[in-house]
């Protein structure tokens, strides 16, 4: 007990973040079992019902249960978050690693490309691309991933630049390790701490972006529920059905907050040298 308390000291925020993220993840995974109703089933006898014991978070304009829709919507939001961050972290880590390790012309080309990408306001870039492509889930994930890797690239580049001067890299070269092995076995694992942190924060960003896109009606398409498009439907009826906008908005807030807290407090936790 003493030891548990000691361990917890100063880690309350990490724990709170972990709790929020864990709750949302479990809710999303168990959606089919947790949801009291079919998220797509319309019930025209129960339109705009306020939260009650029958419908905990009320119903929408088609009489669909908001709680069920939000549970399924959590799946969409988290899936988008994980996949797009997976894409952006892989691209960012690979390019950053090459830039920081090889330096010279490679570095110059990659970093100028990063600068170019950063010049575009990424949200409008996404809007423009969505305008040309189908607005389906896959496209949204890929586009969010392709427009958000620059931060990771810069982080990894900085780490790689300092790591490549360390003696263990010389030792690895003397051991005959190939460039690939040096990059992915010696440099990347040591640069992973900051990447994990920025990936966690990136998930929050991706969830927000997806919600914004869905809210604008060009993200996840009706009738598939996502927090953003439940919010969009709630906008029409804000005066008399507050629960339609309040709950999805609150869910986005808590999830993003959870990921931020987790990300901010993860760094210390991930470094083997700071383990108590």
């Amino acid at each position: 007990m003493q030891r548990i308390l000691y361990w917890l000291k100063g880690r309350e925020l990490l724990l709170l973040g972990g709790f929020l993220v864990g709750t949302v993840t479990i809710a999303a995974l168990l959606a089919p079992w947790l949801a009291p109703y079919d998220p797509l089933a319309q019930n025209l006898d129960a339109m705009y019902n306020a939260p009650s014991f029958l419908h905990w978070l009320g119903t929408d304009g088609y009489g669909r249960d908001v709680l069920s829709r939000m549970l399924y919507g959590a799946r969409v939001s988290l899936w988008v978050g994980f996949v797009s961050v997976g894409i952006s972290a892989s691209i960012g880590a690979t390019l950053g690693l090459c830039a920081g390790y090889f330096r010279g012309l490679v570095d110059e080309c990659i970093m100028r490309f990063v600068d170019i990408m950063l010049c575009f306001p990424s949200f409008f870039l996404i809007l423009a691309v969505i305008a040309f492509l189908d607005a389906n889930l896959l496209n949204i994930m890929v586009i969010i991933g392709l427009t958000s890797w620059m931060g990771v690239a810069r982080l990894v580049r900085a780490e790689a630049m300092s790591l490549r001067e360390r003696e263990f890299i010389s030792a690895a070269r003397l051991a005959g390790a190939s460039t690939m092995r040096i990059l992915f076995r010696h440099i990347l694992p040591n640069a992973l701490g900051p990447v994990m942190v920025s990936a966690t924060l990136g998930i929050a960003g991706a969830i927000l972006t997806e919600s914004s896109l869905s809210f604008l009606g060009i993200g996840v398409q009706h009738p598939l529920p996502s927090w953003g498009n439940i919010l969009l439907e709630g906008k029409e009826s804000l005066e008399f059905a507050w629960w339609l906008s309040f709950f999805p908005g609150f869910a986005i807030l808590l999830t993003v907050l959870g990921y931020y807290l987790l990300g901010e407090n993860l760094r210390e936790f991930l470094d083997p040298r700071t383990q108590r």
Partner: protein, 268 residues
């Protein structure tokens, strides 16, 4: 006696970054150095810090290309790509014969690899690697020889003391049974009591495995303890190379006398 390693007129300079008003300055870190290291012996390399000892060491092991000159290892030029049919394969092969023990055991081991993985690396990356079980066995045996128990092999470098880490670094350098090892100030970041242990370990291993050392240090007492021959470096040049006893009893150059005198002063 046959020379295992020979350097012929090695030169290397570094160019600093210039500013708007001042052009870039070029420092000659190593200037026309020719040394010979007889097989099975230790050549001590002394000189004050910044005199180019480490630069020379890095060129000799093959980490830093020289501007001119070459290193002959067993008669083969290490830096002359044109002299080999397949230079890449040759260099890959050479990693088995030439190894290095670095100065700082806190930065010479990959933090996120277990000690066993680190020590196995020269075997894993060898041109024709042994089967996995044999690599593991070889690494464990080498670790045991330097005084690290097999139970400790699954740990990470930060769980060891400086002296233990240097033992691990030595195990990694010797696991592929090299003929030639460059020791770049291997004890200068260790406590005095641990220093002696590491030096004696290096001497024992030299006897057992018939190693040839290039032993770089700024500490004359350490060099005297370790070396058969000693070369003295000053501002990138070798000013004197002689058998250890001769050099310490009858130094030929003014600079060597000055160096010797400085430790006598401290010893008083």
């Amino acid at each position: 006696m046959e020379n295992l390693v020979e350097t012929t007129g090695l030169c290397r300079s570094f160019t600093g970054r210039g500013t708007l008003l001042r052009g870039a300055e070029t420092t000659r870190a190593v200037d026309n150095v020719s040394l010979t290291i007889p097989k099975g012996q230790t050549l001590g390399l002394v000189g004050e810090s910044g005199c180019g000892k480490s630069t020379l060491g890095r060129m000799v092991v093959g980490l830093l290309p020289p501007d001119s000159g070459d290193v002959l290892v067993m008669g083969k030029p290490l830096w002359n790509a044109a002299a080999h049919d397949n230079y890449r394969a040759f260099r890959q092969e050479m990693t088995r014969h030439i190894q290095m023990v670095f100065q700082d055991p806190y930065s010479s081991l990959t933090p996120r690899m277990t000690v066993l993985e680190s020590v196995q690396e020269p075997l894993t990356c060898a041109p024709a690697p042994l089967p996995k079980a044999q690599r593991r066995e070889g690494a464990l045996a080498m670790l045991e020889r330097v005084g690290i128990e097999p139970e400790q092999a699954k740990r990470f470098p930060h769980q060891f003391s400086g002296g233990q880490r240097q033992r691990i670094a030595i195990a990694r350098a010797l696991v592929s049974r090299p003929a030639f090892v460059v020791c770049d100030e291997p004890t200068s970041s260790l406590d005095a009591s641990v220093q002696a242990q590491i030096l004696n370990l290096l001497l024992d291993l030299q006897d057992e495995l018939g190693l040839t050392y290039l032993f770089i240090s700024h500490d004359l007492a350490v060099v005297r303890h370790m070396s058969d021959q000693v070369a003295v470096m000053q501002r990138g040049k070798v000013v004197e190379q002689a058998p250890a006893n001769t050099l310490f009893t009858a130094p030929q150059t003014e600079y060597t006398r000055l160096l010797l005198h400085s430790i006598m002063e401290l010893g008083k």
